[in-house]
């Protein structure tokens, strides 16, 4: 199999600042969604959001940069320490690479600059120097002293998952033995107003896959995995928390914002990832669905899952009812959630689900279930028809 080891994880979202806090919220079925407090309401928006509680700037220790950068640095540092890299010899640490998926890096500074300029206040052009997505990648690389391969990708809501896929391939290619990969996005006025203008936001907590779903809630956060070649991880005695055994990415080429009704693109992503892993659909025990709670996404993804798995659909849940949709961070945050499911042998709940939707041929898990999970699948899909599927294997399963 094409596997690489996951030797570290870091996560921050509306339900916590670490994997442990995240697991506790998942176990307690405690949602982090609530009213927007970060800035004045946007266009009379009445949708709950998944805000990160507390001050990311204090946690990150950075003296500059926007909210996305602060969230990214916090999660990346956690993952680095979790993998035991902060105490490793410098050459090993410095050779590590970094790939970040983000959509909103730099946006906070751009908004601040424009607001000043448009209101005839002195606008600091240096704020725009952090306008590009790569500013968050640089912000992570610098304090960790990373000198390996580095990239920033922006594939909308699949960005975090796509970053993990690309990092896995760089390890396969021999470009690096260790890669830090993940996603980060903060809530911004651009994204809040943008999604509100599309009328896809729910005025209540989202209810993915439910018959009465009314749309999505935006969220924010960041998550990183430390990926490592299996040989390298074993040689340095790193704690292997899971294996990334398969990954694939496809495009719908259908519509700018909507998936094809039959979920053809995400179906291909799942099938390609399963083939990449050299396993069968029935080997998969849990699917962390993209499940946004919108009218179009959930039935399309549900139909794709039904087609791939037939009458052997594993446990399925969307966890966006906990932290909302953190856009570019979603794929990475949900990868961590999938790995937590493997480690704890526990399927997280699809909170908010009460009534089966007639247009979705998949039944989701409405409350946490404890069961043996050998392989977990994490789906991501986004604007522009991007789809990315990641497959993780339980480390204890392989070790036994």
């Amino acid at each position: 199999m094409n596997s690489v080891a996951v030797t570290g994880m870091g996560i921050v979202s509306a339900i916590g600042w670490s994997p442990e806090e995240t697991q506790a919220a998942l176990d307690a079925e405690r949602s982090g969604l609530g009213p927007l407090t970060l800035f004045p309401s946007v266009q009379d928006l009445d949708s709950p959001v998944g805000e990160v509680k507390g001050d990311p700037a204090l946690r990150s220790g950075l003296d500059s940069g926007g909210r996305t950068e602060h969230l990214a640095v916090w999660a990346a540092r956690q993952a680095f320490e979790n993998a035991g890299l902060s105490t490793c010899p410098a050459p090993l640490r410095q050779a590590a690479g970094l790939i970040l998926g983000t959509c909103t890096a730099g946006t906070g500074d751009t908004e601040a600059f424009l607001e000043q300029a448009l209101h005839n206040r002195d606008a600091d052009p240096r704020r725009l120097d952090r306008n590009g997505c790569a500013c968050a990648t640089h912000a992570v690389a610098r304090p960790l002293g990373l000198h390996g391969p580095r990239a920033t990708v922006s594939t909308s809501c699949t960005s975090g998952a796509q970053a993990i896929l690309l990092a896995r391939d760089l390890i396969h290619e021999g470009q690096a033995n260790i890669m830090l990969a993940g996603g980060a996005d903060a809530l911004t006025r651009l994204t809040l107003s943008g999604f509100a203008s599309l009328f896809v936001m729910s005025s209540e907590n989202c209810r993915p896959f439910d018959a009465e779903r009314k749309g999505m809630n935006l969220g924010e956060g960041a998550a990183f995995l430390v990926l490592e070649s299996v040989e390298h991880a074993r040689k340095r005695g790193a704690p292997i928390q899971a294996y990334l055994v398969g990954a694939a990415s496809t495009c719908d080429a259908h519509h700018r914002t909507a998936p094809p009704p039959d979920g053809e693109g995400i179906r291909r992503a799942m099938l390609d990832a399963i083939e990449d892993a050299g396993i069968r659909p029935r080997d998969i025990d849990y699917i962390n669905a993209h499940g946004t709670g919108t009218r179009d996404n959930d039935p399309a993804e549900g139909r794709a899952i039904a087609e791939v798995f037939g009458d052997q659909v594993p446990s399925v849940s969307s966890t966006k009812g906990f932290f909302g949709h953190p856009l570019a961070a979603a794929g990475a945050i949900e990868a961590v959630v999938a790995i937590l499911a493997l480690r704890h042998n526990k399927v997280p709940a699809n909170i908010g689900f009460t009534t089966q939707s007639a247009d979705t041929p998949v039944r989701v898990t409405s409350h946490p279930i404890t069961k043996k999970i050998g392989v977990a699948l994490s789906n991501s899909a986004g604007f522009g028809g991007t789809n990315c599927c990641l497959l993780f294997e339980n480390a204890s399963q392989r070790n036994t």
Partner: protein, 349 residues
């Protein structure tokens, strides 16, 4: 356009044609931003006469700024003193991968679709990914595009990047001592349809991409760049493709008219010349297109042109006249960026 920007001095190289005209159906150009139009135009040209089969063709776009003209418009509407209702189309276009996704929708490309947004090496990263997925057999074809458009943001960002030559409108050689005092901003797009060498017919193949690499510099300060280390990076990259410096017929550099950066290129070239065949000529191209994050895509297009014809087009300014008796079969592209990266790409006939 946000009024706050219009008072800025603005001398730049804008694309001298209406994007898409006569190339892309008018209905496909509706409701697009400028970067999307530029990209769709060159991608359509690269895929002529017809797009390759969808499911086995990937689309990789490199863009430093994305469709930032649309995001500027959207933010201007919602953040101004008298906010306007947000326009959904501007938001949809403002998403960084809107360029790649629009291209995929129009051309029906259903393979992996990824947008690299990493400053001035965005295109090279897309190109590296393309080489990887082809070599691994993950895809049969890859459409690779580099694109950036001049937007209001460039007017503000320019000074920080050393842009804004007052005489930018007059093209001239810009390598080190030959050049201008500053760089000029530009815009443009380049697209390439790639296939494994064994899968491309002789009629299809314009050139061979031998190797491409992009890495962070040991030091972010470009002025501290050590020419010997740079030559070692170039040689190590060539070695991956089994190519030696002795086989290089032409070197195309990313010098842009900013003396601080051009000095780095001049120093690296001086060091490189010690190992290159005698009379190997180098040249520059950004005096034609201006500076923008994905200008290397235009550099690659010129390199392909050189190895196809064996000669250097007039577009390129050479530090010495190329020898007409020696057709050029292999071109080395070398770029170093203000954000602390270097990249190498080698194409051959």
């Amino acid at each position: 356009m946000p009024p706050a920007f219009t008072s800025q001095p603005f001398h730049g190289h804008t694309c001298p044609f209406a994007p898409g005209e006569g190339i892309v159906p008018a209905q496909s150009l509706r409701r697009l931003g400028r970067a999307q139009e530029l990209a769709l135009t060159v991608c359509s040209l690269a895929c002529k006469p017809s797009p390759p089969p969808g499911e086995r063709t990937a689309t990789f776009v490199g863009t430093g700024m994305g469709e930032s003209g649309s995001s500027a418009r959207f933010l201007h509407d919602i953040l101004g003193p008298d906010p306007l209702p947000p326009r959904p189309l501007d938001f949809i276009n403002a998403v960084h991968n809107s360029i790649a996704s629009e291209t995929a929708v129009v051309l029906g490309l259903k393979g992996e679709n990824c947008t690299f947004t990493h400053d001035a090496v965005s295109f090279e990263l897309a190109l590296s990914r393309a080489a990887y997925v082809l070599q691994r057999g993950k895809m049969d074809r890859v459409l690779v595009c580099g694109v950036d458009a001049l937007t209001p943001f460039a007017a503000v960002l320019g000074p920080g990047y050393g842009w804004w030559s007052d005489d930018a409108a007059s093209p001239r050689p810009i390598l080190g001592a030959l050049g201008t005092s500053r760089a000029a901003p530009g815009e443009g797009a380049g697209a390439f349809l790639l296939a494994r060498a064994e899968d491309a017919t002789e009629a299809e193949a314009l050139a061979r991409l031998l190797v491409t690499a992009v890495r962070p510099l040991p030091e972010k300060n470009v002025a501290a760049c050590d020419p010997r280390e740079e030559v070692a990076f170039i040689q190590a990259t060539l070695a991956r493709a089994g190519v030696s410096l002795g086989e290089i017929g032409f070197v195309l550099l990313g010098a842009n008219g900013n003396p601080a950066w051009d000095a780095v290129y001049a120093n690296v070239m001086a060091e490189l010349a010690k190992s290159l065949p005698e009379k190997t000529v180098c040249g520059v191209y950004k005096h034609r297109c201006g500076e923008f994050h994905t200008a290397p895509a235009l550099g690659l297009a010129l390199a392909v042109d050189i190895v196809q014809t064996g000669t250097v087009p007039e577009t390129i300014a050479c530090v010495a006249p190329p020898r007409p008796d020696r057709p050029i079969a292999t071109v080395l592209l070398y770029h170093v960026t203000a954000s602390g990266y270097h990249s190498v790409c080698v194409v051959a006939s």
